[in-house]
Symmetry: C2
Subunit: 207 residues, 2 copies
């Protein structure tokens, strides 16, 4: 095997183990030694690939941000239809984080550990997408498909929170099965958004 490609592999292995450890024990609760041990190299060798613990954190987070910068535009632009799009976006969100719950735990930890940095990142990189979804909701409201009492921005934040924190804490709680929890999440999100409902025609709910 050519030695040229090996460097990339070890870098990825470091990122993988760093994600695992940061997610499970937090950035402060993880030592560079822990990660080096998990990778199977010495501490100074790890610090050759990532010159500081802080830069390792950044690299781990950038990997996740990259995913969403790629996935979100397509998801939100393509569909454009109400309920189908809703399923697609929430499904993608749930799928991404349940595929590796460490991602959700990492994001929740980052929100708690570095509020100011997250706030800045959110304002520039995530807020625009929240607004796009909120506008979709407002359009649905004027068309009578979506409950008029929904607060679009607040609703979107709650759903993201529900998915993120739900996945992050699920295994620590173990009250109900993954499947029941996810099914109920989608039911809750839908019943709080759409007006029509399968068996309940809402007539004269409001004056």
């Amino acid at each position: 095997m050519p030695a040229a490609g090996a460097k990339v592999l070890i870098r990825d292995k470091i990122l993988l183990e760093a994600t695992r450890h940061f997610a499970a024990r937090g950035f402060e609760g993880t030592t560079v030694q822990d990660i080096a041990d998990a990778v199977g190299i010495r501490k100074p060798s790890l610090l050759y690939h990532f010159p500081s613990k802080e830069e390792l954190r950044q690299a781990v987070l950038e990997g996740m941000l990259e995913h969403w910068n790629r996935a979100l535009p397509g998801l939100l632009a393509a569909a454009s239809s109400g309920e189908g799009q809703f399923e697609a976006v929430v499904g993608e969100l749930l799928g991404f984080f349940t595929a590796d719950p460490d991602r959700a735990r990492l994001v929740v930890r980052e929100i708690l550990d570095r509020p100011t940095e997250v706030k800045r990142l959110l304002a520039t990189a995530i807020r625009p997408w929240i607004d796009v979804v909120a506008d979709h909701i407002r359009r649905g409201q004027s068309q009578g498909r979506i409950r008029p009492d929904v607060d679009p921005e607040a609703y979107v934040v709650h759903i993201i929170n529900l998915v993120l924190s739900g996945v992050a804490t699920h295994h620590s709680l173990g009250v109900v099965s993954d499947e029941r929890q996810q099914r109920e999440l989608i039911r809750l999100a839908k019943s709080g958004l759409f007006l029509h409902e399968s068996s309940e025609p809402t007539r004269g709910a409001e004056t």
Copy 2:
């Protein structure tokens, strides 16, 4: 300053500052020195009151658990009526954590940092209360007041999650105001639970 009552006061001040720091930076991210500095004493003096950092963590958590062991029985037993009780329990939950968001952040961190311990605690101390609420929901379902498709246990877990994580992360996100976020949370929780819809006037109508 009277010396007699001072010992109790300093203990409480240590607990207060420990809560603040553990909530903001995590247990591993906080040093005993940090807390001692905030209190205004030396590190060994703090360690006289709480013989180890670990015992300080336990004391902080016990204070919170005590509150709920006192409050929950009354809340759940007294009311017994559907929607009124729902408002009371969710209101108490929201009120307790919004009164001091550090509490919410502390609990979320504990769930992430110590999954096994939390699981044990949940099974013995919290699970019974979830079951009580779930049974209330099932009774409401058989009476036709509550949506038949609600998964009681999963629903309760989601609502707790929504309150806890919502409060814990709110100031780090700053997307919408506290008030809008809380109002939408209650709307979302209600619309996902009850069949009839609004028996009370919706104040502050927009449009």
